[in-house]
Symmetry: C2
Subunit: 481 residues, 2 copies
């Protein structure tokens, strides 16, 4: 198994430095970011989304997941103390009588609430939906306050690391399938993180605070992170330096072996449990043929409070940049981990259901695909219209309406101009502009002879077809193209 050296990290850092641009730099085309930090999605963007989401959802279904949907808002109390330092980003609804409500912050907490509420002990589900976070509008990452998440989770008591490995396999399938260029999935375990903090001498009360500093290492230098830990969070400098030694480590299964030998970490029971699991995980990842995509990385912490075991985060190693293309911010494009204690927080008797899952960062992926399309100059069709109904003559509205209804009723995607007497040239231009491949033309001559003219927009070739054979001929043409 190849050692993952310095190159990916360096390449990654260079790309991450792109993050320091204002949000609008990453959004192709004209995007009107509203003053409330949200935006409309144009038809062009919707085409990209549909394509990406189709691929993501079909992967989730390939792995046997069921669909599930939960409401946009939950009881406010349900969301508190689940998101660590980010809890302040939760949108609350106004108290208009009744329960206090908040917009969901992710899809994981509602899923855990669903499992507990319905006493579901086992479930593999996916959920595509929007979540809302009150990120500061000056945030550097081009984030909007409303964004889409695509989650896949496996709940249930199973043999160790088998579902966890499948989650990583899914991330690989999706990132490969989307052809976003080379990627790397960093893996760690919360128990190793905690063990590392313990053996370095971090007081337990500071675990989450220090973890959240370490988590910034992909955006900040070690020097700045160290400063934050020491000056702001009151960590002893020598403790910070010891952590500094660990968080530089990243590599494959060999690093796992190495850490088993680490004189300090190997003294910590929870860290050892985490290492055992990672060893098994790497074994399964090798069987899945994806171990070279995975890097055990001791700097990976993940900010959310609810993780209890293995954690992971996928980053793109290079943009699919071509000459002249603007480099794109990358950062995390998928992430997740194990959360064995979350369901119990919603169960009246505290019964737990172990869970592991992942979330695809589709918003970043949308931006990358949009940018790539923009650069390639590829014209995106925003409609799927197959046939246009035209006439060269005045007073043919009635005939056009009858004809288009015939096409619609045959399941053919058809349009016409909403004008009583449009000019033929206007009608043909519309087809060219919209990328409609076929035109059917009806005029006096055709009506008299019982035929319809069928025109190919690309070749401008026209043939007269008997009216009764028109639908069959159109279907034939469409199936050939």
């Amino acid at each position: 198994m190849p050692q993952l050296g310095l190159l990916p990290r360096r390449a990654c850092a260079a790309l991450l430095s792109q993050l320091l641009r204002p949000p609008c730099a990453y959004s192709p085309g004209v995007v009107h970011c509203h003053s409330q930090g949200t935006r409309d999605l144009s038809p062009q963007q919707m085409v990209v989304r549909e394509k990406v989401l189709d691929l993501v959802v079909s992967c989730f279904k390939r792995h046997g997941a069921k669909g599930l949907d939960t409401p946009a808002f939950e009881l406010k109390e349900l969301l508190t103390e689940k998101y660590g330092e980010d809890s302040g980003l939760i949108y609350d609804l106004k108290d208009q009588g009744g329960e206090l409500l908040s917009l969901r912050y992710d899809l994981t907490v509602p899923f855990a609430r669903y499992l507990a509420m319905n006493k579901v002990k086992k479930m593999k589900r996916y959920h595509v939906g929007k979540v809302w976070r009150r990120e500061s509008p000056t945030m550097v990452q081009g984030r909007y306050r409303e964004f889409c998440q695509c989650d896949f989770d496996i709940a249930g008591q199973f043999d160790s690391m088998i579902p966890d490995a499948e989650c990583l396999k899914i991330m690989c399938e999706i990132l490969s399938g989307l052809q976003l260029g080379d990627f790397l999935i960093k893996v760690n375990d919360r128990r190793i993180v905690d063990g590392m903090f313990a053996v370095c001498g971090v007081p337990e009360s500071k675990f989450r605070a220090i973890g959240s500093s370490i988590d910034k290492l992909d955006k900040m230098s070690w020097k700045d992170v160290r400063h934050e830990m020491v000056a702001k969070k009151g960590l002893a400098p020598e403790v910070a330096d010891q952590i500094g030694d660990y968080v530089q480590c990243h590599g494959g299964v060999t690093l796992v072996e190495q850490m088993f030998q680490d004189p300090r970490l190997s003294q910590n029971k929870r860290a050892l449990e985490g290492l055992e699991d990672l060893k098994l995980l790497f074994e399964y990842l090798t069987l899945f043929g994806i171990s070279e995509k995975i890097s055990f990385d001791l700097s990976l912490v993940r900010g959310l409070d609810y993780y209890t075991g293995v954690i992971y985060e996928a980053i793109l190693l290079q943009t699919p940049a071509q000459a002249g293309e603007e480099p794109l911010s990358v950062g995390s494009v998928a992430a997740g981990g194990r959360y064995d204690g979350l369901v119990g927080m919603f169960d009246p008797k505290g019964h737990n259901v172990p869970c592991v899952g992942l979330s695809i960062g589709v918003e970043r992926i949308f931006s990358i695909v949009e940018q790539r399309m923009k650069t390639s100059g590829e014209k995106v069709r925003t409609t799927e219209t197959q046939v246009f109904v035209a006439t060269p003559q005045n007073n043919f509205l009635q005939e056009r309406l009858k004809l288009i209804a015939e096409l619609w009723d045959a399941g053919i995607k058809a349009e016409m101009l909403y004008k009583n007497n449009p000019k033929l040239l206007t009608q043909l231009h519309y087809c060219e502009n919209m990328g409609i491949p076929l035109v059917v033309i009806i005029g006096e001559q055709e009506l008299k002879e019982g035929v319809i003219k069928l025109r190919s927009v690309a070749s401008r070739e026209e043939v007269a077809i008997k009216h009764e054979n028109l639908v069959a001929e159109i279907r034939k043409r469409l199936s050939e193209s």
Copy 2:
């Protein structure tokens, strides 16, 4: 064109009386309605939704619509004074600093805002998304506070009634396509409503209030509506009685002709404009072959403030009830109309873009389809898994993992149990329960011979296939079934 007599209305009234049951009576299966008036959607429900929405969206695309998405919340001020008496149902977000925000109440106002903001003068778009309304939880219609809407709208200055007729055609295509049984689309025009009020002597300041009473005629008797207008809204009894004469009228294009001759209504300029448009509309609907589905109905008012011209509402005339099936509430399953003044309300210079559109009441449709499936006892698969990977022996996890990865990489939907050593019977039972059609079995014997056993779950027939031919054989079997 056939006259629509009393039968549909009577049938409809009988069915509408079903509305007076508590909400839970209409929701098949176990539905946990949360205290906040929302609910989770189970995998079974998600399957129904996916099916219905696929049909709806493919119809919208067949008519050349582009996709568009707007945020869940809008500026609060933007939503006020658009929804008449229902404005109190808008959810506000808590003031956490920044603009005052509200959850969207429908998809129409955000669409109009989008057109104005981007100075779009022409657009045919569809939008599937959730909207939120603070309906009282004791509402009799089984409504939830979060629900899905599917909208199709045509914006732009076009020749009269052509896009309007297309909207009605779309409603017919969708309702026929979903096979929900016979339906009827009531049509009226806001100018005819206003004209009727004017000639009956309703003061203009009371138009909207009286309109909203009339709108309840599908849920309340004329006697009760009359009482509300006279006792609560201060209408003179003789005026109420004159309105009563009009709102009984419904029929086809002949009724339009008849109203042209009405001595009072024909004196009103706006009513005449509405009648002219309806006459043209019926002409186009006849060309589309759907005029027998449409009823000009003077009792149709539609509560929303923004309508300016033609309005329509589709109702089911019968549930697809079979022997022993519980009757379902029906009511409106699609509605819409023309709103030529809404975009101008968002444009700084008041520039208008005429619009006409429709909304499919998919939530009611979901309930009907769910109920129908429940009654038929049809087992709904909630996953799409095609192949299960099993073993009859212990210590075959590694082989199963390698094999399942091979299937996933070939695009085959595959599952296995997350156990090191599952029993063969457990594995085969899982397939039967989940409706998985094929099982691949690997054991010592197969491994030695380089084959995999392929088993049909239905026939229990097993054949040994060379490992290298497995994927091809699976694909062949799946394409045949």
